[in-house]
C-alpha cells in the first residue's frame, strides 16, 4: 500500500527524469559522450552517408529504368546463377562442415590441430589468391582438371567452377559455428539417451542433431550470405560468359565500367535487399527455433 503510494509519488516528481532515462540509463562510468560522438561520426562518414548515396542514386533514374535495369534477362540469369550456386554451396558446406566439426571435436587423429587451424584459411587468404589458385587447379591440364577432363567434367569457366569457389569461401562458417556448440554439448545428454535404451544412431538423430541445429542454421546462413556477395574468388574461375557463368557482383562492375551508375546502383539495391531479407529471415527462424527449444526444455 505504502509502496503503491510511493510509486505514484515517484511518477509525479520524476517526470522529466523518466524522459531522460528513456534515452539513456544512468551510469557512473565516464566517456559516454565521447564514445557516442566518435562512433556515430565514424559510422556516418563510413557507412550511412555512402549507403544513402546508393539508395538515392538507384531511385534517381525513376521507377521505369530501375525496373528495366533489374529485370534485364542477362541480370536475371546472373541472379539465378548467384543465388542458386550460393544456396548449393551453403548446403554442401552444411553437410561437410558438420562432419568436419564432428571429427575435429570428437576424434583424435594425427594432423588434427593443423587442420583445425587451416579451416580459417578462406578467411585469411585474399580472395584473388584463392581465385587464381582454384582456377589453376581446375583448368585444363591443372592438377585436378587433368583427371576430370577425360570424364567429361569441366569445372573451370563453367557454373560448376562458381560452385567450387563458393564452397571454398563458405567452408569455415559452418565448421566454426558448429564446433563450439558441439564442445558445449553435455556428454550426460548422450549418456542419458543411451541409458534410456537409445542406439547410437537414434541418439544422433533425436538428441545431438536437434541440439546442434541452431548453430548449423547460423553457419549455413552466414555461408550463404557470404557466397551471395562473393566476388574475388569467383571471377577468375567463372569464365564470366553472359547468360551462363556471370555472377551479379560482376554485372555491377560491368555497369560501372559502362558509366551506367544508376543501373549499377539498382542491381546493388536488389542484392542488398536480398541479403538483408535473408539475414532477417534466418534471425526470425533462429528466434523461433530457440523459443521452441526453450519451451520444450
Amino acid at each position: 500500500m505504502q509502496n503503491e503510494e510511493c510509486r505514484m509519488q515517484n511518477a509525479k516528481s520524476g517526470e522529466w527524469q523518466v524522459m531522460r532515462i528513456a534515452l539513456k540509463q544512468h551510469s557512473v562510468l565516464p566517456g559516454f559522450g565521447v564514445s557516442l560522438g566518435y562512433t556515430m561520426t565514424y559510422l556516418s562518414l563510413v557507412v550511412l552517408v555512402p549507403l544513402a548515396a546508393l539508395f538515392a542514386r538507384s531511385a534517381s533514374a525513376g521507377w521505369g529504368r530501375f525496373w528495366a535495369a533489374i529485370c534485364d534477362p542477362r541480370v536475371v540469369a546472373s541472379y539465378r546463377l548467384t543465388f542458386g550456386a550460393a544456396l548449393l554451396a551453403a548446403l554442401i558446406n552444411a553437410v561437410f562442415g558438420l562432419i568436419i566439426a564432428w571429427s575435429l571435436v570428437r576424434y583424435r587423429f594425427p594432423g588434427r590441430r593443423i587442420l583445425d587451424a587451416l579451416v580459417d584459411l578462406p578467411f585469411a587468404l585474399p580472395t584473388a589468391v584463392s581465385g587464381i589458385a582454384l582456377t589453376a587447379i581446375y583448368a585444363q591440364g591443372g592438377w585436378l582438371g587433368r583427371w576430370l577432363e577425360p570424364l567429361g567434367i569441366k569445372v573451370a569457366f563453367t557454373p560448376l567452377g562458381v560452385l567450387v569457389a563458393l564452397t571454398f569461401i563458405g567452408l569455415p562458417f559452418v565448421v566454426r559455428t558448429v564446433q563450439p556448440a558441439l564442445e558445449d554439448l553435455e556428454k550426460e545428454m548422450e549418456e542419458a539417451a543411451a541409458s534410456l535404451g537409445a542406439g547410437r544412431w537414434q541418439t544422433l538423430r533425436r538428441v545431438i542433431l536437434p541440439a546442434l541445429f541452431p548453430a548449423l542454421l547460423t553457419g549455413f546462413s552466414l555461408a550463404l550470405a557470404r557466397a551471395i556477395g562473393e566476388y574475388g574468388s569467383v571471377i577468375f574461375i567463372a569464365g564470366n560468359m553472359p547468360m551462363k557463368s556471370e555472377i551479379t557482383s560482376l554485372l555491377i562492375i560491368t555497369k560501372l565500367e559502362q558509366y551506367d551508375y544508376a543501373g549499377a546502383a539498382a542491381i546493388a539495391v536488389v542484392m542488398l535487399l536480398a541479403s538483408f531479407g535473408l539475414l532477417f529471415g534466418v534471425n526470425a527462424l533462429q528466434w523461433w527455433v530457440n523459443r521452441r527449444q526453450r519451451v520444450g526444455a
Binding site: S103, Y107, L121, S130, T167, S249, L272
Partner: protein, 275 residues
C-alpha cells in the same frame, strides 16, 4: 561411448579429404605455380617496380585502416558494452553491416558518393580533390570492409566481463583515462590483438571493394591483390603467383598468430593473467 571404429575412420577420412581438396591443394598450388619458373624468376617478379609499388601501397593502406578501426572498435565497444541507451541494438546491427554486404557494393557506394558522376564528385573535382581512382578511395573502401573486426571481438567479451572492475577502480579514485588504460585495456588485450590480426589480414587482402574504387593504374593505385589480377589477366602466371604467394604467406602467418593468441588468451583465463 563412441561410434564403431569404421564409422570413426570414415568420418575422419571424409573430413581430411574435403579439407585437403578445398584447402591444402589450392594452398600448395599457389607456391608450386609461383616457383614453376625457378627461384630466379620468382624473385625477379617480386622486385619488379610495379610489384614493389603495389606492396608499398598495400602497407600504406593497412597502416591507415587498421589503427583507425582499432580506435573505432575501442570506442564502439566501450559505448555498447558499458552503457544502456536507446538505439543500442540498431548500432550493433550497423556494425555488422559490412559482413552482409558484397565487397563490390562496398566499393560502389563510394564511387556513387565521390565519383565524377557522384553526389560530391563535381564539387571535389572543382577543388582538385581526387578520391575515387586514387589512394583515399582505396583507404575508405578498406576501412569500410574491415571496421567490424575489432569491435566484434571486443563487444561480447566486454559485455561478458561486466563493468564491476571499472566501478571498483572508480571507487578507488581512478580517473576515466586511468580506468581505461589500467583496467579495461589489460582485460581485453587478447581479444583486441585477435581483432587486429583479422582486421589486418582483411585489409591487406581485400580485393572486390578496392577493385571498384582503384582504377587499376599500375604503379599508382594497385594494391597487391589487384596487381595479382592484372598479372594473371596478362597471362603472366609466374609473376601473378609469385605476388600471390606473398599474400598466401601472410594468410599462413595470420592463422599462426591467431592460434597463438587463442592459446595464450586461453592460458590467461585459466592462469589468471599470469602470462
Amino acid at each position: 561411448m563412441t561410434e564403431p571404429a569404421w564409422v570413426r575412420w570414415l568420418l575422419i577420412g571424409v573430413s581430411v579429404a574435403f579439407l585437403g581438396l578445398f584447402l591444402i591443394v589450392p594452398l600448395v598450388a599457389v607456391f608450386s605455380e609461383a616457383l614453376r619458373g625457378g627461384v630466379g624468376a620468382y624473385f625477379t617478379s617480386l622486385i619488379d617496380p610495379a610489384a614493389l609499388s603495389a606492396i608499398r601501397l598495400t602497407l600504406l593502406v593497412t597502416a591507415i585502416a587498421v589503427p583507425a578501426n582499432l580506435a573505432f572498435g575501442l570506442a564502439a565497444a566501450w559505448l555498447i558494452a558499458r552503457f544502456d541507451f536507446v538505439g543500442r541494438s540498431v548500432l550493433l546491427t550497423l556494425i555488422d553491416l559490412p559482413f552482409a554486404v558484397s565487397p563490390v557494393i562496398s566499393g560502389l557506394i563510394y564511387v556513387l558518393l565521390f565519383g565524377l558522376q557522384g553526389w560530391l564528385g563535381p564539387w571535389l573535382s572543382a577543388h582538385n580533390v581526387q578520391i575515387i581512382f586514387a589512394v583515399p578511395g582505396i583507404v575508405l573502401a578498406t576501412v569500410f570492409v574491415t571496421f567490424p573486426y575489432v569491435a566484434r571481438e571486443l563487444i561480447p567479451l566486454m559485455q561478458e566481463q561486466g563493468s564491476e572492475d571499472e566501478q571498483a577502480a572508480l571507487s578507488l579514485g581512478a580517473s576515466g583515462w586511468q580506468i581505461f588504460r589500467r583496467v579495461t585495456l589489460p582485460n581485453v588485450k587478447w581479444a583486441l590483438l585477435y581483432g587486429v590480426i583479422l582486421c589486418n589480414a582483411r585489409a591487406m587482402g581485400e580485393f572486390g571493394a578496392v577493385s571498384v574504387v582503384s582504377g587499376h593504374i599500375r604503379g599508382e593505385t594497385n594494391t597487391m591483390p589487384l596487381h595479382v589480377e592484372i598479372l594473371y589477366n596478362e597471362y603472366n602466371f609466374v609473376a601473378a603467383f609469385a605476388v600471390a604467394s606473398l599474400l598466401a604467406l601472410l594468410a599462413l602467418a595470420t592463422l599462426g598468430a591467431k592460434s597463438l593468441v587463442e592459446r595464450f588468451s586461453g592460458a590467461g583465463q585459466r592462469g589468471g593473467g599470469a602470462a
